[in-house]
Every structure is written in C-alpha cells, then in structure tokens.
C-alpha cells in the first residue's frame, strides 16, 4: 500500500501510522451530551467501500493526513493534509 503525502509524495505505508476514522476530527463541544462524546470516542461505521481515515506521517513530515480509500478495492482515492482541510482549522 502506498499513500501520496501532499508534502512528501508517494510513500510506502511503512512510513505511516494508522489512527482511526475521520470521526476523530469532529470534536464535540465541551458541554455536549454524553451520547455525543460516546459517538465521537467509540461508535464507528465499518463500511465495505469508501471510507475516510486518519494517518500520521511519522517517518516523514509529521503531517496528519485524511485518506479517502476503498476498503474493497484498496484504491486510494484522495489524500489531504488535516491541517489544510476546508473548514477544519479553528
């Protein structure tokens, strides 16, 4: 498996550390109800098909990456830097 890091180019997956689903980016407000925090922390879809998840380029530029990929075909559809995503940064 290879990921194309926006900063470093196409690299082998051994350079990256997997974290989890994109959901980790959507942090609830501090006073959100417990159910919102449970969803954020624990509840995940397990799609057969397109999924978006987080990878850390720790053997490269230290960028956190949002990877869109297909769990069935293993196709990598898009890789973007978490810091650069639209509407993401506070």
């Amino acid at each position: 498996m290879r990921l194309t890091c926006p900063l470093c180019g196409a690299r082998d997956r051994r350079e990256f550390t997997y974290y989890g689903a994109e959901d980790y980016l959507n942090r609830p407000a501090p006073d959100a109800p417990p159910q919102a925090w449970d969803d954020y922390l624990h509840n995940r879809d397990n799609p057969a098909g397109v999924t978006r998840d987080l990878w850390y380029h720790d053997m490269g530029c230290s960028s956190w990456l949002l990877v869109t990929r297909n769990t069935v075909t293993h196709e990598i559809l898009a890789v973007e830097a978490v810091a650069d995503r639209k509407g993401g940064a506070a």
């Binding site: 550390t17 942090r27 501090p30 850390y56 960028s63 978490v82 650069d84 506070a90």
Partner: protein, 971 residues
C-alpha cells in the same frame, strides 16, 4: 547422459559436487538436476507419505519431487529444488525423507500399506483413544511423513532486503517479456526485467526455436546486449517475483549467493520490494503431467523438461524414450531427440484423430495402463486404437497441455477464467491494477503470439505512463495453433494414478473426497492435502480439479479453483526478515554516559529502545539489591548523579504556545512565569491519563516540555494531532529535542554544594525554577526539579558534552561522599516519594484514580476533560492509588483482597503496580490501585500473587511514604 556439442553450459568450467556422499562432475550453467541426469542419476528422493522412489519431473521452480538438502558448514537447507539449485565447486547435496538410504528406505512399507493410508486416514484411524493423538499418533505420523530436516542451528548466513522503483516491471524474460522490455526500454521508460532462472530467454533458450531465421538463443543474446547497454534498464536474473500487492508493489526473491557457495559479505538471498508504475506479466506457462497408473516413477518427466535438458544443458535423461501427449506441440520433444540421435521408442497420442506421420511409431487413442521399474522406469504398458502393448523404455516424456502461470493475477482477489479451447485457466482482465499479462501466461502459446502480446502490453503500459511507443517490427517466429484435446487420467483401470506428486495425492483420493461429500474444491484440497506441498499444486491443481469435476458431475468452471496466494515460490523467512536477527531486531539507543557507566561495571537494562544503567556495583557487593540500597541511602544522605536524558523533550514555540499547552494539559500553563517549571498532566480524549511531566517556560512564547521516556513518541504524535486537527491556525510549532540535550539529575542534601563547585556561582533558584548557566563556554540549563524527593536539580547540556559532564559530575559527587545511581535506586526513590510512572498511568487510570482530579482546571477546556467527567470515571467504585507497606516482599501484578474474603475474581479489590524494598523506611513498599482506596488508609489488605507464591498482609497507606510535606524538596 551428456551429448557432445549440445547445451548452453560452460564446458570450459567443470565443477565437482557431491550427492549423498558420492562425487560427480558437472559444468558451470548446470542445475543440480541437469548435472545428476548427466551422470545418469535418476533416483533423487522419496515421496512425502508413501516414501515412493522419485526422480526429476520438471526443469523449473515448480518441481514437486526432486527436493534435496543443501549442506554448508553447520547449515542445512531443506527442500531445495534440484531444478533450481545451480552446481558449483564443492556443492554438497543430500536426498531427504529416507532411512537408512535412498535405495533402501524402511518406510517404503507405507507404500504397501496404502489401502489403509488413503486421504483422511489420519482423521478416521487415529480418533481413539483420544489422549493417544497428542502423545503417540501425532509424533509417529510427524516422524514418518515430511520432507527435509533442519540443522537446528541458528542461520548465521547473511541475507538482505532492498527496495527498487521503476516505470515498468517486466516479469519473465521469454519472448513476451523480452519484447515488452525492449519496447518499454526504447521508449525511455525505466525498466526492470526480472527472470527467475539464471539465464534470460524462457522457452527461447530451452526449445529449438528460430527467430527472424536465426536460432532463438542468438536473438535472445542480441536483445540482451541492447538492453544491457541502456542506462534505463535493469536486468535481474535469479529473481522470482513472489507476490503482487497494492499500488504497484511487488515482492521478489533474488538468489544472490546460493549459486556460488559461501563467500565473505555475500548474502545468500535478497528480498526485494519493487514499486512499479506499470507491469507486464510474462511468466509463461507450466506443462501439466498426465495421470495414469504408477505415473510417478523416476524416469517419467514432463516433455518440456526433456527438451529443456536437451537444448539448454545438452543432457538426455535416458537411452530409450517414449512420449505420451494430448497435444501437437509436445511432439517436438520426440523430433528434437531423434535429431540429436536419441532412440525414441514411440509416440503415444491420447487423441483418436491425431496424425501418425512421424519418424517413429505413433499410437493414437493411447492410454497408459501401467508402468514398471522399482527404482526407475523400465517399461510402460498401454492400450491404443489397435490393441495393447508393452514397451521397454527408461524414460517417458508426458504432456497434458499447459497451465498459464497466472498466479500473480490472483494475489489481489482476481479469479481466473476457464477457457475451454485450451482446457486451462487464463487471467481475468485487469485482475491486478496496472498489470497486463502477455504471452503464454495469458493463454497465448505460439512464439509469434508471445512477441505480439509482449509488445502490446508494453504499449499499453507506455500509454498509461504518457509515453509514446517506439515503432518496433515484430520478429518472425512460429505461429502454430495450439491443438489439444483435454485428457486427465486413464479411465477404468486399477492402480494409483498420481496427481500431486509432492503430497502423494492420487485420483482415487480426490474421488474419495467427493464420495464423502467434500465436494467443494476448498474442502477437497484440505481433505486430501492436494496442492498443499511446497509446489502449491502448480503441477497438479488443474488435473485434480478436472477429476473432482468429473466425480461430482460438474464442469470445471462450476467446480472453481482454489485461491493462489503469495509467495509464488517458497521464500525463506530469513530473506524476508533480513537484518532482523540479534542486534538488528530493534534499534538501540545509547546515552552519552553509556561508556562511562559501563566503565564502572554497570549492567544495562532496556527501557524501550534505550539502554540505561541498572546500578553501579562496588567491590564486595554481591547482589543488585546491595548496590541499590547503598545508592538509595547515598542519595538521601549526600548526593547522587543519574542520567535522565531518555525523558522526551519537546521544544514548543510561538505566540499561541501557552494557549496550546492549556489545551493539552489539564492544568494551566499560560499563568506560569518565565523562568519557572510546572508539573503537568495530559489526558487522552477519552479521559484517561496519557502522560505526565514538567514543562518549563523559557520565554514568553517558548516552552520546553518533558515527557516520560516511554511516551515521548506518543506525546509528539498527540501534540501534532491536536494542533493540526483542532487549531491549525494557531501560531505554535514543536520539535523533538530529546537527542539534542544530555540531562543529568543531581539530587541529595549536598546537590547544591556539588553544583556550586561546578558552576562557581550558584544561581539563586527556587524550587521549580529554571535558569541558563554557563559551563566554560558552553550554555547549559539548570532546572530545580526532583524525582527523588530530595533537594534536587537537573542540568541539561548539548549532547556532545554529555559524557564529559557526566564523568565530571560523578567525580565531584564522589568527593562529597556521593556517586552515580542507576535505575533500580531511581525506582526506589520515586516509590518512597509516591511518584508515578507508566506502571501507574498504564492507560486505564484517570486523574481521579491517581488523586490528581484537582489538577483538571475548572476554568478552561482541555483534551479529555469532557470524557473524564462521564459517569463511572470518578467515585468510590474506582480503584484508587494507595501505598502498601509490608514486612516481606510484594510483587507487581499481585491482586488485593479484603482479609477473610474468598480469593477469586468477584472479590478482587485491586492490584499492585510497583514494588520495592525501602532502605530509608526499612520496609517493603508498593504502589497499588485499591477499590475506594483513599477512604481505606490504615486498613489491612491481603496481597496475593499466585505466580510468585506470595500471600501476605499489608497496611494501606498514603502513596507518599517519605517527606509527605515536601520539606526536603523546598529546602
């Protein structure tokens, strides 16, 4: 027998080798198989289950029979295929799976017992009595069955692994592969051409073929000369592509030193990972054996192998040869042999309507009904259109048609398609992204067809790469149609007809499987072990499938096929894990004081990847505990020096640095004055403790964070995530400076005196203060912090001065009656003081559990704050940090029970995390988590450790045993 003037071996380079202790001659360019056949050695092994005498079936890596052990010093490599191993001077090979000798094997009795040893017999026969399986049956069966044996020594040989990148990877160098490589190379693409064998050319160097009117070999050499001269082409021989993986990544195994014997610095094998933009699979095809009674005798070979031995090695495997085939192409075998002056007894053609026009007798509608010859073929008996006959022959060449070598196209879930006209599976289109099959592996068997498809595949690859293909004329070559009539086994005869030679599976076994309702191909495979040997069914799967299809009344496409998985050939773990033995297993991190500590005889202890001194023994001390007790007292009484550089150090700068620390720490750092240090607690987003440590404010917008040794990488990742995910716009940047600074703890009542002698003038530093100091001309940092509970400092200096400073500090300490201390004493000191490590913050504890819930600021948000407030994360039902005090040793991992309670899971009250003997208090101490523990100080609790046979009573106390008020710290 070797023929004069034939073959591509180097007759100028004779070599001597041994097989089963006998010495033989061969030539450079021979495989062990060709050299043995040249010496008329036909019997080379015994079969897996029945111990049947076996010879050489093939001339390639798919060989199921001729597996030998290669001996090299104290090394012994089993299951080496004689058809792959090249001979060199001094090569020593040994047959396997026989006792006492190859010609007389005691377990040959299994063959007579075969009626009782059919498929599934293990499961049926050895069912009862049950305990006998493990103790008696299985050891016996394992001894009797099996292939080679191991030396039971470590493999000390060298292996390598490597990466390669290219635009176009071409797998196989027959006509299709060479044409693809040439086309891509002329277009300027970066090309890797990988060939499994020692010599490029595929069937062009193994058959009597002509290309553009010249011998195929000459065309190959001319093409290779051009490719070699191009800077954008890499030719890799002896390299088998073993697997196809995601995104154009391939695994490949190169035999680097296996063909020339051991030499210094010469690896045996190299495991490659090749990343290719596009790839062309030109892996060719494998000829199929035919099933007929006793078709496994030495001397019965594949027709294509007979031609390979003839043309490539100048060897004929016998003196009187017959051919049986179900296709036209195999007849070249008989014609080539006759042209070389070898006697061909007859051609048997299984097809009723086949031509009989040859220079030798031809029998049509022929079916072999039996063969004879205990250790090698002596005769065959067959029926044919005109009756039946027996022929005295010592070699039988057979051809059941060809199976495209499509294995790699199945490695990413591709399911091959059945083509009735060639009675074979072919690759599904686009089974592997960016890979195009060409030539025989695609079901196109003529030489001209291979050239054409090779070029087309390269054009397709070049187009995808955005390159224009060169105008390249296709070479002229034979373009004969592939005429074949499917034929799998001799019908209506007694006797065993072998399918899988390597695992001793017969057509009867497959039919029995179907009869017992193991009708799915995957069930049949497991019931019979068909295709589960080192050749993974390369020779036999399709034949077995045909027999199963017939037995179950289905067609072959409906029966399906088993899944081909990587690796394509047996691959040594040593090659895949090259460099990973011994010190290569994990990186080693050494402190700047490492040598100074070792000079003092300190044993090293691993802390993550770091090596830290355990203790510093003095003359007369016989145990680690004596040294540890002395070092602990030394620090409490005078002064000790320890290297604490392994702690993670992260330099944090920017206008929003303080604001950022407020977000990642539970407590507030924006209020910390410059020049001061604060202890901080960090949570995971789920509310559990991630890490702790001190952070110093070096400037208005400049902090230095300290992490625990264990969590340094984790914290860095966490900071990067929080920043990039939640506040990417903030002006804050981090960099790890762990290895930029050496840092030493100087602690004890005389710590200030020691530093005063070093620094000349001691800065007036309050507890939890930091100041820049100068050592000679070197800028250093002095922190007044303590992990021992004593008046203490940590001094940090650029790494290159670390060793000098450590030696200097230790010398000064010794003058004051102190000295260095190691990890053991460091651990005792922190337990006495109730300081936590990752033994306590192990991932399941909250700030509440460790008694730090007041450190979670109510005035601001922080990572983990909301989740830490969820129900169940606080309260009396939690296991809370306590101290335990006892008169005898406790063990970390021991569980706690209320005295009088039964000891079982339901009454469990908590567990012990850290233990020590405290020389300061002359007591055994522990840190533990106890249910509602903070309300239970003063209680007596039962400590049970079944592993260490500990069952004692201890007193529950506050976790801080020593100097609870912190008087010494602030002195």
């Amino acid at each position: 027998m070797r023929l004069a003037g034939k073959g591509l071996i180097d007759r100028g380079q004779p070599v001597t080798f041994t097989f089963d202790g006998s010495t033989y001659q061969g030539f450079r360019g021979d495989t062990l198989a060709s050299a043995l056949l040249a010496n008329d050695v036909r019997l080379v092994g015994r079969s897996f289950k029945y111990h049947r005498p076996r010879g050489i079936l093939t001339a390639g890596s798919e060989e199921p029979n001729a597996m030998v052990e290669i001996l090299e010093g104290n090394q012994q490599t089993p299951n080496v295929r004689a058809t792959v191993q090249e001979v060199f001077d001094g090569l020593a090979a040994r047959s396997q799976n026989r006792f006492p000798s190859l010609k007389f094997d005691l377990l040959g009795i299994n063959d007579r017992l075969s009626p009782f040893l059919s498929a599934g017999f293990y499961y049926k026969t050895f069912m009862w009595p049950r305990p006998f399986w493990e103790k008696l049956y299985e050891p016996l069966i394992r001894r009797a069955a099996g292939l080679g044996s191991l030396s039971r020594q470590h493999d000390e040989a060298q292996y390598e692994k490597a990466w390669a990148f290219c635009d176009v990877l071409v797998i196989g160098s027959g006509p299709a592969g060479l044409m693809a490589a040439l086309t891509a190379a002329r277009a300027g693409a970066d090309v890797i051409l990988a060939e499994e064998e020692a010599r490029m050319g595929g069937r062009l160097v193994s058959d009597n073929l002509r290309v553009d009117g010249q011998p195929g070999v000459d065309w190959v050499e001319g093409t290779l000369a051009e490719l070699r001269a191009l800077p954008n082409v890499r030719l890799m021989t002896r390299t088998t592509v073993t697997g196809a993986y995601d995104d154009g990544t391939f695994g490949a195994l190169e035999r680097v030193g296996l063909h020339c014997g051991p030499a210094p610095h010469l690896p045996r094998e190299c495991f490659w990972r090749i990343v290719a933009g596009q790839s062309v699979l030109a892996a060719g095809a494998l000829e199929r054996p035919l099933a007929f009674p006793d078709n496994d005798r030495p001397g019965i070979m594949l027709a294509s192998a007979v031609r390979s031995y003839l043309h490539r090695y100048g060897v004929v495997p016998g003196h009187r040869i017959a051919l049986i085939a179900n296709n036209d192409a195999a007849r070249a075998t008989a014609r080539d042999l006759m042209a070389a002056g070898v006697k061909v007894a007859a051609i048997l053609d299984t097809r009723p309507d086949a031509s009989v026009v040859e220079d030798c007798p031809v029998y049509v509608n022929a079916q072999i009904t039996g063969t004879a010859g205990r250790l090698g073929l002596t005769s065959i008996t067959f029926r044919h259109a005109g009756g039946s006959a027996t022929l005295e022959v010592d070699t039988l060449a057979m051809s059941g048609g060809w199976n495209p070598t499509l294995h790699l196209t199945c490695h990413m879930n591709g399911r091959p398609l059945w083509r009735e006209d060639i009675a074979a599976f072919v690759p599904a289109p686009d089974a592997v992204p960016r890979l195009t099959p060409a030539g025989a592996c695609n079901g196109t068997f003529s030489t001209a067809g291979a050239f054409r498809e090779g070029q087309d595949a390269a054009r397709r690859a070049l187009a995808a790469l955005g390159r224009s293909a060169p105008d390249l004329a296709l070479p002229q070559a034979e373009d004969a149609p592939y005429a074949l009539a499917a034929y799998w086994e001799t019908p209506g005869v007694e006797g065993r007809q072998w399918l899988d030679f390597a695992n001793d599976v017969t057509t009867k076994d497959v039919k029995l499987s179907a009869q017992e309702n193991f009708r799915s191909v995957e069930h049949m495979k497991r019931y019979t072990t068909q295709g589960m040997a080192p050749d993974q069914g390369k020779n036999s799967n399709v034949g077995a499938l045909a027999v199963l299809a017939d037995a179950t009344g289905r067609g072959i496409p409906q029966t399906g096929t088993t899944t081909f998985r990587p690796p394509y050939v047996p691959t040594s773990i040593a090659a895949m894990g090259a460099g990973g033995r011994g010190a290569g297993f994990a990186p080693q991190r050494f402190l700047t004081s490492d040598q100074a500590s070792r000079d003092r005889g300190a044993p090293m202890i691993e802390a993550g990847l770091w090596y830290r001194p355990s203790y510093f023994p003095k003359p007369g001390e016989t145990t680690w505990l004596e040294a540890c007790n002395r070092e602990t007292r030394m620090l409490r009484d005078s002064v000790g020096v320890a290297d604490v550089s392994t702690l993670g150090k992260i330099d944090i700068q920017g206008r929003d640095a303080a604001r950022f620390l407020d977000l990642v720490y539970t407590n507030t750092f924006s209020t910390l004055p410059v020049g001061r240090v604060r202890y901080g607690l960090m949570l995971r987003e789920d509310g559990h403790v991630l890490d702790d440590g001190t952070s110093a404010r070096l400037g208005e917008h400049h902090f230095l964070m300290t992490t625990t040794t264990a969590a340094a990488g984790l914290v860095m990742r966490h900071l990067d995530f929080v920043h990039q995910a939640f506040c990417a716009g903030w002006d804050v940047r981090f960099t790890s400076v762990t290895e930029s600074w050496a840092q030493f703890a100087v602690a004890g009542p005389k710590a200030r005196d020691l530093l005063a002698t070093l620094l000349g003038e001691m800065p007036d530093l309050p507890f939890m203060g930091v100041a820049d100091v100068t050592l000679g001309k070197v800028r250093a940092r002095l922190f007044r912090i303590s992990f021992s509970g004593e008046h203490g400092y940590e001094i940090a200096i650029p790494t290159r001065f670390g060793e000098a400073l450590f030696r200097d500090l230790v010398a000064r300490a010794e003058i004051l009656g102190g000295g260095p201390y190691g990890m053991e004493a460091l651990n005792v000191l922190r337990i006495e003081k109730g300081f936590i490590t990752h033994a306590e913050i192990h991932g399941r504890t909250t700030a509440f559990d460790i008694g730090m819930e007041r450190m979670v600021s109510a005035k601001k948000d922080c990572i983990g704050k909301a989740a830490a407030a969820r129900p169940g994360m606080t309260g009396p039902e939690r296991d809370q940090l306590v101290g335990l005090k006892a008169t005898s040793p406790m063990g970390a991992g021991a569980h706690l029970f209320t005295p009088g309670d039964r000891v079982h899971r339901e009454t469990d009250q908590g567990y012990v995390t850290s233990v020590c003997y405290s020389p300061t208090l002359d007591a055994h101490l522990a840190l533990a988590f106890l249910r509602n523990g903070r309300a239970r100080h003063g209680e007596t609790i039962r400590v049970v450790d079944h592993l260490r046979k500990i069952d004692i009573l201890a007193e529950v106390t506050d976790p801080v045993f020593h100097d609870k008020e912190g008087v010494k710290l602030r002195a």
